[in-house]
Structures are given as structure tokens and as C-alpha cells.
């Protein structure tokens, strides 16, 4: 039995959250350290609801309570019993999640995050079943349980937080502009009146339009690069992470302009599994401190390697 199958309970949750907030304020001195795991999970869920009310995408996730441990009865224990983690990933975003035809593997920075989670559950990073999913499928697949986790250059937003949970921020992206090296444009504003490409349904389209350029929508980011190479668009504008992957496929392009937006990436997890959210956050904490995050960054995105994004939690 869960909240999903009880609409009345879902409706009641914000009320519960509000009262929990009041209770929390009253009993500010009482430390909830010694609560059982079940109680901790309940408390976390109510605290999270409070976070949605006062949404901060960069501090929306649940604080881990130590190193990642597969506790009996947890969602991680069920994954371990199944034998593999099911991850929804992108397979066409170069250097984040892409199918490498040379070795037949899906690889990238996003995939490294998933491999670390599999390593923490199984002691083996390869125990993952990858499902290549589209942008539009990310939330439905997480919600329905078709996948355990999604690593798909996915920005944590308040709207999405209403439907699913996210891990702490594992990558800080920002919308920028990719142009050919012979272009004189150095910002999106300089491209006013010209065609600028982004994928259908992406938030980047609105930013392009807001800056006076003509948005051109195509299904995939690589389609944008085809249009840029063929001279059908003047630029591509979206998250710098994606643009870097495109630039890596065409050395005659370059990233220009200031950060137009803030795109904190998180791993998406169902609201049914707060225990898994804290587990994944614990894995991410390890990656930030033991140098794996920096190694992945250096391997896929390149130097200079910045400091990993600081984890901020809802509490």
C-alpha cells in the first residue's frame, strides 16, 4: 500500500507537511537522531513536502545519514535481489550519455554516476540494465517504476519536484551558445533575428525566443549540429554540457557567451523510494570527496576541472 494508490492520502500530505513544519518549529531542540529508519523515512517525506512549498531546486534532496548501506527491506535490497539496477539514460548526448559504437557500450558522465550507484549496491559497476529513453519519457518512467533511476542531463526544477524526487546536484550546467568558429556572434543577443536551434520541448527554445532569435526545433541535439554544419541555423543554444558534447564532435565550433540560465542536474528517483534518494546522495558524497567525480569530469568534459557542486539538502 502506498500514497500513489490512495489519492486522499496524497491530498492530505501537504496538510501533514505544514503541521510537521509547525511541530518542528515548536520542538526545535529535540534531535531526531535516534529515530528508526521507518520513522526517518516518514519524517523525510514530510520535510520534503515542505521543501516543495518553498522550492529551491539546488537544495531539494534528502540528507544522507552516512555511507551508502543496503539495509534489509530497503528498495536497494530489492534491487540487489533482482540482480541489476534499471537506469533510464540518454544515448545520444555525447560525453554525458551516448552509445559508443566502437565498444557497443553506453558511456558518459551521467553513466559514471549510475555505475557508482551500481557499485555501491552490488560491488560491481556493470550490474545495470540501461534503457535509452527520450526526454519526455523521463518523468513517466520514473513515476511508473519502469526504471529505478534516471541519469539524463535532467535539470532539477520546482515543477518536476512536484512529481518526482531528485538526488543532490551532481553537475552544474548553464544555457550557453555554440557557434561556428568563423562566426562573429559572442552571445545569444547578438544572434537576434537569426535561426538558433534547440530540441523540441526543451526549455532552451523559450530562452532563444526571449533573446530575439528565431527558435528552430528538431528532435535531437545532434540534428541541431547537422543543421549548423549545413548552414541552416546560425547557432545552437542549450545547456553547456550538451553543447560541449556537440563541440567535441566538430572541432570547428566553439562555446560563447555568458551563462544564461542555471541548470542544476540531478538523478531522478520515484517519490516512492526516499530511502533510495538518501542512498544515492550518500554515493554522490563519496564521489565528490574521493576524487571520482573529478576523474569523470576530466575524462568526459576536460580540463580545467572545477570543484564538484556542493550538496545542499532540504533540511
Amino acid at each position: 500500500m502506498n500514497a500513489r494508490s490512495r489519492p486522499w492520502l496524497r491530498a492530505l500530505l501537504p496538510v501533514l507537511a505544514a503541521s510537521a513544519l509547525v511541530l518542528g518549529a515548536v520542538a526545535a531542540g529535540a534531535a531526531p537522531d535516534r529515530l528508526s529508519s521507518v520513522h526517518a523515512s516518514r519524517a523525510a517525506s514530510t520535510v520534503r513536502q515542505a521543501a516543495v512549498a518553498a522550492c529551491n531546486p539546488k537544495a531539494s534532496s534528502l540528507r544522507p545519514s552516512g555511507p551508502p548501506l543496503v539495509t534489509p527491506g530497503s528498495f536497494m535490497a530489492r534491487i540487489r535481489a533482482r540482480g541489476f539496477l534499471i537506469a533510464g539514460v540518454d544515448q545520444s548526448t555525447y560525453h554525458f550519455g551516448f552509445y559508443n559504437p566502437l565498444d557497443g557500450q553506453i558511456e558518459g558522465f551521467d553513466i559514471d554516476m549510475i555505475r557508482a550507484v551500481a557499485q555501491a549496491i552490488f560491488g560491481n559497476p556493470n550490474k545495470v540494465e540501461y534503457k535509452a529513453i527520450s526526454d519526455a519519457q523521463r518523468i513517466p518512467d520514473v513515476s511508473s517504476g519502469a526504471v529505478d533511476i534516471v541519469a539524463h542531463t535532467m535539470t532539477i526544477t520546482c515543477a518536476r519536484l512536484q512529481q518526482i524526487d531528485f538526488s543532490s546536484v551532481y553537475f552544474d550546467a548553464a544555457q550557453r551558445v555554440l557557434v561556428l568558429k568563423n562566426s562573429t556572434a559572442r552571445s545569444l543577443a547578438a544572434l537576434a533575428g537569426q535561426k538558433v536551434c534547440a530540441t523540441t520541448g526543451s526549455d532552451s527554445l523559450a530562452v532563444i525566443a526571449k533573446n530575439g532569435a528565431i527558435p528552430v526545433a528538431v528532435p535531437y541535439w545532434t540534428d541541431c549540429l547537422v543543421l549548423l554544419q549545413q548552414g541552416d541555423v546560425a547557432a545552437i543554444s542549450t545547456d553547456d554540457s550538451i553543447l560541449a558534447g556537440l563541440a567535441a564532435q566538430d572541432p570547428w565550433t566553439m562555446l560563447v557567451g555568458p551563462r544564461l540560465t542555471d541548470e542544476p542536474y540531478g538523478l531522478a528517483i520515484s517519490k516512492q523510494h526516499p530511502d533510495f534518494v538518501t542512498f544515492v546522495n550518500a554515493v554522490l558524497e563519496q564521489l565528490r570527496t574521493d576524487g571520482q567525480w573529478a576523474a569523470s569530469y576530466a575524462h568526459w568534459i576536460g580540463h580545467p576541472v572545477p570543484a564538484p557542486p556542493q550538496a545542499h539538502y532540504v533540511d
Binding site: S92, N100, P101, L102, G104, I133, P219, L246, Q249
Partner: protein, 456 residues
Amino acid sequence: MTSSVGVSPGPVTRTPAVRRAWQLSRLDTATTPGRLWLLLVGLVALCLAWGVLAALTAEQHASAAADVVAVSEPLSLDAEQIYQSLSDADATAASAFLSGGLEPAADRQRYNADITQAAIRIEAAGALLGSSAARTQLPGQLNQHASTAGSATGDDLAILSAGLPVYTDEVGTARADNRLGLPLGAAYLRKASALLRGTLLPAASDIYTKENGLLTSASAQATGLPLIVIAVVIGLALGYLLYRSSRWLTRRSHRRVNYGLLVAAVAFAVSLVWLAGAFAIGRAELLHAQQHGSVPAEAYARADVAALQAHADESLTLIDNSGDDSYQQDFIAQQKLLGPGPGTLLAAVEASAGNGPAAADAQAWYRAHAVLRALDDSGNHAAAVHSALAGEAAARFARLSADLSNGINADQAVFASNARGGRDAFTGLAVGMIVASLIMVAGCAWGLTRRLAEYR
């Protein structure tokens, strides 16, 4: 031109018998020589008219039949070949791409052969279109139809010749990027495939439809009844007239046989039987060519194209593999189109060509495809790719494809031999009609002047 021997009725130019007959007839058309003279003139004129009518009829059917064989059919075959070659190139390029950077040599050769074939056929259709402007033998209406269809077809050919290099360029870029392991390659392949399906195939299909319409009207012209019926009716009237003339002469001259008229009658009978017989044989051959040749071949070709497109969809879904299922949706659409089942392309094949293994093989492929999709959807991409390239799905598709291309080849051979048979039935017919009518004229003239000579 002052005076000429032919025009001048001077007595020097005429034989005594003719002169006498001329004088007699001028004197009195109510007398027997006068009537004989009239009969002679009438019969000669009618025999010549018959010759002209029969020769024209023969010429029209012969040229329409020749048109079916020589112009329309090669052109619609070209259009069909362009369509098939391009569809095959699409499917082969996708399959080769799926194999990775080191694409199999066989795939590469097949793709190159497809492109070469398409280019040759586009050029051939263009050349044929140029010569078809000189199709003056076609009757007015059909000729007009042919020339408007010709110019529209020319536009489509222009689209094809302009689009083909763009397509091969994009496939080449896709291949180069794929070799480097860049996801950009898949984007170029999708773009190439979209160009092929969105622009090139509709143009080829357009040519095929128009030229097939032209083939049908040329065939209808060759097998149409009106002209031949008129010719035969007039011929039978002439025959009756010859018979009555001969009876009249027999009564008047008390001679049982007029050999001149007999020769004319025999020549006439031969020409009439030849004309009707050639028409009957030619018509039967052309109709057979259509019903057992071009109709089933077209049904097979349409089924083949749907199968090829679905095969390309299978590969493109695996290449795309980004959760977007538009190619899989197209596969399902093509599968519905192909059948088997009522109203499908395979049902049309069975209706025109009889039951073959294609329906069962198509279903076997669909089952293999379903297994492949299940593998891919459960994360076993490598096994799905193996099935598509060298496993069950590949083998099943190869069988279906072989069924369909065998069907096309067999039925096209039936068409070609019957259509040629139909055309050959008209060989020499027009000349024969003219010769027969001249013999008839000579026979009439000889027979009647001999009677006239008796009245000198």
C-alpha cells in the same frame, strides 16, 4: 502545269477496250457496259478505301502495342526500379550503419549497386522521356496525355537527379562520423533517410503512377475494340458487295467464274482474316501480359517496397535507440500495409499471382521482429542488433525479400514475353493490308475490263 497526260482524256492514252467502254458509259449508263464501268470504278474505289482503313487500323494497334513494349513499360519499369533501388539503399545503409564503424563489405557493395542502379535508371528514364516526345504514332488524345504526363514526369526526374547526390553525401557523412564513433553520424543517417522517404521516394512513386497510367492507356489503345469493329463491319460490307457483283456478272455474262473478282475476293478474305486474327492474338497476348505480368509484378513491387521500408525502420529504431519510437511506429504502419490480411499488399499479391510463401515468411519475420524489440526494450541492445544483422530477424527478412523479388522477376518476364508476342502479332500487318488492297484493285480491274472488252 499546262496539260498532263493523266488529266487529258485524249484517245491516244487509252486502250481500245477502255476507250470503247468509256464512250459507251458516257453514252448510256443504263446499258450493261455503262453499269460495268460504274461497277469497276466503285469496286476499285472501295478496295482502295478498304486498304487505307485496314492499314490505318493495323498501324494504330501496332504502334500502341509497340508503345507498350518499347516506351511505356521500360519507363514504368525504370520508375519502379528507381523506387526499389532507393528503398533498398535506405534499408542497406541503415543496416550497414548498425554494424558499426567496420561495415560489412557486402552491405557496402549492395548500397553502391543500389545507388548506381537508381542513377542509371533516372538517366534512362530521362532519355526515354526525351524520345517519347517523338511518339507521333500515338493517336491525338493519348499523345496529348503522354506529353503532359511527360513534362510532369520530367519535374519528378529533376527532383530525383538533384536529390540523389545530396542523399549519398549525407549517407557518406553519416558513415564517416560513425567510423569515428560520433553520435552525429546517426543524425546524418536520419536526415538522409528523411530526404529519401520524404522527397525522393514520392517523386519515384509519382513517375511510376503516371507512367503506369500511360501504359494502361497505351494497352487499352492496343486492345481497344471500336476501330477494329468499324473496319471489320466495313470489310464485311465490301465482301458482300464483291459477292453481289460476282453474282450479277455471272447472270449477265453467263460465265460461272470471273477470275479477276475471285482473286480480289481471296485477297480480301485473306486481309480480313489476317486483320481480325492479328488483332485477336495481339489483344489476347497484351491482356495476358497485363493480368499475369504487370498487375502481379506491380503488386509484388509494392509489397517489396513496404517490406524494405519496414526493414529500414527496424534498423533505424536500433540506431536511434533513444526511446523515441517513431521508426517503430512506422514499422507497425508498414506491417499493416503489407499484411497478410484483407485489403493488404500481400493480399493483392495473392489475388493476382496466387498463393506463395510470402505471407507465411512475412509473419515469421514479424515474430522475429517482435522478439528483437523485446530484447532491445529489456536492455539487451547487443542481442537485438545481432538479430537484425545476422540473427533470426535478418534471416527471416532475407527470405521474405527473396520471395518478393522472385515474384517481381517472374511476373516481369511473363509481361515482357507476352507484350512482345502482342506487339509481334501486328508485325507486317499494315503493309499486308496495302498489298492485299492493291491485289484486290488489280483483280477487280482485270475481271471487269475483260467483261467490258466483250462489248467493243
